[in-house]
Each structure stands twice: as C-alpha cells, then as structure tokens.
C-alpha cells in the first residue's frame, strides 16, 4: 500500500519512541518552530561548542511526520559541525520537496522521509524542525 511509502517503519519507530525529547539544560540556542496554519509546534534547544552541535533536544506536539522528523534530525545533527548541519538541511529540504535527485548516501535514517515528496500537504510537517534548526544556525535565536 502506497501510504507505507510515507509512513515508513523508521518514522513510526521514532514517532513512538522519540529520541532527544525534552530540553537541553543551559542551551545556547532555543528556537520555536511553528506552523501557524495547522498549529504544530516544536521547541528546539541546542548546545554548540567549537562550531559543533554537542547537544540537541526537542519538545512540542504535532503529527507523526513532524515528530519523527524532529527525532531523526536531532540524532543526525548531534556531533556534526554547523556547516555539516546546514548541508543536511539543504539536502533534506531538497529531498522532501522533490526538487531534483538527492544523493541519500550520507543521510542515514533521514532517507526514510523520501516518500514525503509525494505528499505535498506533509512537506511542511517534515520541515518544521529543520526550519527551526535553520533559524538557529542563522543565529536567529530568541
């Protein structure tokens, strides 16, 4: 059944058991991500040291896609440089928007979101946490 392309095992697994759920203590950056049209919300907190994301966590509420995406994201960017995180943001965004071929080799579990591009209504769910991350990387913190 095609819907399984969207709701992949990995996604369900992360939805049920979100990783890095909560808030980083003494975070360097706390960013609020929000989709005002549907009401989904995420709060992302990060610790950055020497240009490396050393700690990251998320809280909030939303659908399986947005929650799983946040969970996978935190796992994938932890330990990465800000530069690498930005690169992943770009790759991931391109992939879920279906904008051309994306090399998913270095993307690990992020590749599980490939099916999202066939569900345009859900692209913004998959991107909720990533857009918050982007704001964080741009130093747009509050």
């Amino acid at each position: 059944m095609e819907l399984d392309n969207l709701y992949q095992e990995i996604i369900l697994e992360h939805y049920k058991h979100p990783r890095n759920h909560g808030a980083v203590t003494n975070a360097d950056v706390i960013i609020n991500g929000k989709n005002p049209f549907c009401g989904d919300e995420i709060v992302l907190s990060l610790k950055v040291k020497d240009n490396i994301v050393t700690e990251v966590a998320f809280e909030g509420h939303g659908c399986a896609i947005s929650q799983a995406s946040a969970s996978v994201m935190t796992e994938q960017i932890k330990g990465k440089s800000l530069q690498e995180a930005k690169q992943l943001f770009e790759q991931f965004t391109k992939m879920v928007k279906g904008e051309g071929d994306v090399d998913t080799e270095n993307m690990d579990e992020l590749a599980a979101f490939q099916g999202v591009c066939d569900y345009p209504t859900r692209v913004k769910c998959a991107l909720l946490s990533w857009n918050a991350l982007k704001k964080a990387l741009e130093g747009n913190q509050k």
Partner: protein
C-alpha cells in the same frame, strides 16, 4: 442509494443527483470519486454561480456607479440587485442595510473598527464565547485593547453547549456588546440566540451574530432574530470567494464610521476633510468585487430554487446519519452536541494525530480538515492541539458518509500497528 436520496421533499422531488450535476467541480474527471467533506472551510459552487461571474466579465464588465454608458449601468444594476437578494435572503428590512465585504472576517472587522472603536470605552464589557472563530475574537481583542473595554468569556461544557447560566451572570449594565456565533465551526453547536438576544436587549446591549456557518445551512431572518449585526461569507454559501456581507440595523449603520476610505464612498471631498455617501456605500471604498457580489446573488437564487428549508433537512439528516455511524467506531471521540447541531463534526480517533488521519483519508480520496480550525480557544478548552473535522453540504450523500465511516475503520486498523 445516493440516486434515491431526495433533497426536496415537496412536490417536484429534486434528487441529490440532480443537485450534484449542477456542480461542475464534481463532474471533472480529476475529481471523480472525490468525497469532499470540507464545506465548512469553503463550499463548492454551482454552474449558475460560475456563469454569473463569467457573464459579468464577458458581457458587461465595467466599473459600477461611475459609468456614463450602458454596460456600466448594467454592472451597477446587477450589483445592487445582488444586494437586494442578500437582504431578502437573511430577512433584512432593506438592501441599504447590507454592506458587501470580502467575507465574514472583514465584516467583523468593520463592526469592530466602525462601531467598536467609536462606541466602546474603558470599563465597558463585551461578552464573547470560548467557541468563537478567530475572526470573531481577535477583532474584539483589538477593539478592547484600543478602548479599554474588557472581554468576558462564556464557556461551554463537554457536550459543546454554551454555559448559559454563566452568560446571564456576566450580563450587566456594563455590557455593550455580545458577539456570538450562530453555529460553531468546530463543535457544530447552535447557541440559543433567541434567549441571548432577548436578555442582551433587555440590558441595552447590542448583539453581533457570526453567521459564517449558519447562513449556508439554516433559514435566517435577522429581523425575527432581532440581531443588531449579522455577518457571513459568500464562499461558504455557494458564492464566489471574495464575497460576503455585513448586515446591521439602519440606525447602527448610519451612525457607524466608515472603515476604509477612497473612491465612491464620499459625499464631498476637500483638502483636509471629507464627508460620506449614504449607507451602504459609505462602507464600500474603491472598486468592489462586483462579479463576486453578483455571483453571491446567483448562489442565493440557486438556494432559493431548492429551498433553504430542504437544504437544512438534508444536512441535518446527513449529520444524524454520520453521528450514528461514527459512534460505532472504537476510540472515536466526537466533540460537540449530538442533537440540534450543524453539519460539522469534529472528532479524534484514538491517538492518531488528526493530520495523519487526514492524510490517510486523503489517500482514499476523502477530503477532511485537521488542525485548530481557527479556534484555538476551543482547542485549549478541549485540551487538544488539533481535531479532525468533517462537514457536509447539500451535494453530499449518505453513501459518501458510508465510505467515510468505512475508511475511519480502515484508518484505525492501519494506525493500530503503531501501538
């Protein structure tokens, strides 16, 4: 089944198929099989409405009230005729009491700016309910902030019924306005407006009724209702997007300040001061959406042909049918009253997030809405971030509801592997 459903119970038995045929949306190959259960967000439009829009554009497109030639006169005439149709449809005493607007949101804003800012003062109170759409809440927050008036909230119980004792408690000589929906777009609740308006008028308060959800589904008569303001959107009542109406009693409109300023709303203009045209034109600054208003008139013609009473019965029957079916689904929770309610049903299904549920149904070609439905106070009170919502209109059928319910069962099963 569907072919046999009769929407018009009286003599000439218009069947649901007859009705659907007149909606080109459902006739497109791309939309075949699409079960559209989101009419509370926006309704589909009959051919007659599209034709009216088209006819304006190809036959007599001209700016109204300004031309000195035949097609401009026709444009003006048809626009004013549409106003008269709207007045008739909601039982206004005269067409001049109808201001054309973009939709219910703009209408409430006009009332909040044009009446609110000039009539409210510090300490005055506005009674509002916790089930209002943002469009009938935030304009009053603005008016309250600017004038020092205070908002007082009437809550609702688990079945979605307004807390009437609380309303009577809140009502006082300080109350200047009660602003209340005629039908909740989340809960389907139809508040007891007769009681509210009677009590309000007894203390000298005015009442604004948000008819965005009611006008499409129930016969409305603003004079019998004794509403002071009444607002609705054209696009939810089979008219074009960008159309709608603000009704207010003549004395109120006459005293109300214009909100937008510009062409066509003036009587005289000097360097630093201007004076205003008569009602309703003083509220209609600049070029209006003429084919929008004329299309709304055509929508009303269409509804009158079928009979709003018949539509009301049809929608109520579908709602009862859907409620009965949905109650049989395990873990399905319905928000709102089970009787005497509008054809809009908010619900949740187990722990499935409404967006995921909507995506599942979308993959089955069933369009429902999920989210906060522009009613965050309701979400707060229900303690949910979002709900799923199905809503019905005259073109929906019982077999569509069967499909819907069947697929709710499927969704439950599909997502059950998540537990």
């Amino acid at each position: 089944m569907s072919g046999a459903e009769t929407i018009l119970k009286s003599k000439n038995r218009i069947t649901i198929d007859n009705v659907r045929e007149q909606f080109p949306f459902f006739q497109q190959p791309q939309n075949r099989g699409l079960i559209y259960l989101d009419s509370a967000a926006t309704a589909q439009r009959p051919q007659q409405v599209l034709d009216a829009w088209q006819e304006f554009n190809v036959l007599y497109n001209a700016n109204s009230h300004r031309g000195a030639y035949k097609i401009a006169e026709r444009a003006t005439d048809e626009y004013e005729r549409a106003r008269a149709k709207v007045a008739d449809f909601i039982g206004a005493a005269s067409p001049e009491e109808i201001v054309f607007v973009r939709g219910a949101t703009e209408a409430v804003n006009f009332a909040a700016y044009g009446w609110g800012l000039h009539n409210l003062k510090a300490g005055d109170e506005i009674i509002i309910t916790e089930m209002e759409h943002h469009s009938n809440l935030i304009p009053w927050q603005m008016a309250a902030q600017k004038t020092g008036a205070v908002l007082k909230f009437v809550g609702f119980d688990e079945t979605g019924m307004l807390n009437m004792p609380q309303f009577y408690d809140l009502l006082s000589p300080k109350t200047r306005l009660i602003t209340v929906t005629h039908m909740s777009n989340v809960l389907g609740t139809i508040p007891d407006l007769a009681a509210i308006i009677k009590a309000a008028h007894a203390t000298g308060a005015l009442v604004l009724v948000d008819g965005a959800q009611s006008v499409p589904h129930i016969p409305v008569n603003v004079v019998e209702l004794d509403a002071d303001f009444y607002v609705f959107s054209g696009h939810k009542v089979l008219g074009p997007m960008g159309s709608g109406a603000l009704y207010a009693r003549r004395e109120i409109l006459e005293k109300m300040e214009p909100v937008f300023f510009g062409g066509s709303m003036i009587s005289d203009v000097d360097y630093t001061h201007s004076t205003w045209n008569d009602i309703p034109w003083k509220f209609e600054a600049g070029t209006q959406n003429l084919p929008g208003a004329i299309g709304l008139g055509a929508a009303i013609d269409f509804i009158n042909k079928i009979g709003i009473g018949n539509i009301h019965r049809h929608d109520r029957d579908l709602t009862d049918y859907a409620l009965a079916g949905m109650q049989g689904i395990k873990d399905l929770r319905i928000y709102g009253p089970m009787h005497n309610r509008g054809p809009v049903i908010s619900f949740s299904l187990g722990a499935i997030h409404p967006h995921d549920l909507a995506t599942f149904l979308d993959s089955r070609n069933i369009a429902i809405r999920s989210g906060h439905h522009c009613a965050k106070l309701i979400m707060k009170r229900l303690r949910v971030p979002a709900t799923a919502r199905a809503s019905f209109y005259l073109y929906n059928t019982k077999s569509e509801i069967d499909e819907f319910i069947h697929n709710l069962e499927n969704a439950r099963e599909y997502f059950s592997k998540w537990n």
